[in-house]
Subunit: 253 residues, 2 copies
Amino acid sequence: MRILVTNDDGIFSPGIKALGLAMRALGEVYVVAPDVEQSAVGHGITVRRPLRFKHTASAGFGEIPAYRVDGTPADCVVLGVHLLGRPDLLVSGINIGVNLGLDLTHSGTVAAALEGTSLGIPSIAFSLDTSGEELNFEEAARFAVAIARFVAERGLPQGTLLNVNFPPRPRGVRVTRLSTHHYEDTVVERLDPEGRPYYWIAGQPVGEEEEGTDLWAVRQGYVSVTPVSLDFTDYGFKARLEALLQDHPLPLP
Amino acid sequence: MRILVTNDDGIFSPGIKALGLAMRALGEVYVVAPDVEQSAVGHGITVRRPLRFKHTASAGFGEIPAYRVDGTPADCVVLGVHLLGRPDLLVSGINIGVNLGLDLTHSGTVAAALEGTSLGIPSIAFSLDTSGEELNFEEAARFAVAIARFVAERGLPQGTLLNVNFPPRPRGVRVTRLSTHHYEDTVVERLDPEGRPYYWIAGQPVGEEEEGTDLWAVRQGYVSVTPVSLDFTDYGFKARLEALLQDHPLPLP
């Protein structure tokens, strides 16, 4: 089995090193990751400028082929698949910090798994709650191998990925739904040396800790495993909207 | 009513100009958009560097307050809401080219609407099929006003946005589900003047034209209106995965 390992914290992150080395237990590993941290760059594919793809012996992967790309996590997946061959499994992470709820619309870690999924490759995103610091990346990576083995043996439905979050001190596993976890953005204004304003976006995590959600699971000390679909259609509202538009047609051609 | 207008093609795009000017029919408009094209940057929020927020009289919006940001579409939404106040409605576009199916995982146009939705603001993304060139942005913007009025009067469910695509020659409206439309990526290798390789990602649009999907609707000449949910959980597979993991527990703590 061939396993493509990527992330969004960059190829020199301890999270991807632990994940890449641990995945050798399952098969042949290759690493393609951004050259610098790409947190919150989201799902972009770089099409307006060319990309470099460079072997990176210094990242500490030993005999594992490891390449860095001056682009996004999704770029790494596209280049990795085209230049090194299609993997049987894609794993992304281990991210420094959780990716829960509405974080998924921003997360580069999950973006790589979305890209893999849209290419038809079974894909898993792994993130670690590093606020407590009880679990290290090597321990988390051992759990990641167990989950990856499960996926390799049983597969995933077409168009579905797994988003996995590790709590600081795991006491079990829960299959979860996404929460409303997100960052309440604030904007901080500063003045540059010439007196002109500039702005920092900063966020505080907020969200309902409802039972059964990913946020609830991680807070309760469970490894959260959320199946995520590429089909973002809101089927419930779709039916209502059809009925509404039947009764109140839009004044369009 | 206050309407925030944004996009991902940049503040100087003809699509946002047509949309912003047309939206005056519904209320007080303000424009906050990227300073340069941000296509396929996806859903990123810029938190590792500060941002500028500059009044941009030269974008052709006349009396409408118009600001450019050196960041992503989602950055524009966050800064616009914080610095100019919360809108009653957010519209993003009109994008040059469709945003269908799996494009949504990359689209900056949709990313802005996702950001608005996660802030609790009713949000709509508009894109125009420019391959045929029969419909101009001013015509598309008139249809956009009709759809925005419908949303302003009836609201949207919490956590749901509308993704709207205009065909070259509209002959009606269809409420649709997302297709499997995406870009089959290819990687083109070139050599720089010193003989070192670099890579372009290029893509060809592919996808099943199944009846009822956004791709089908646009190909058939209908305005496609897709309700999109922020909750990406795959509930169908979630139940199966729970049963599977009950029978085959993962070897985790």
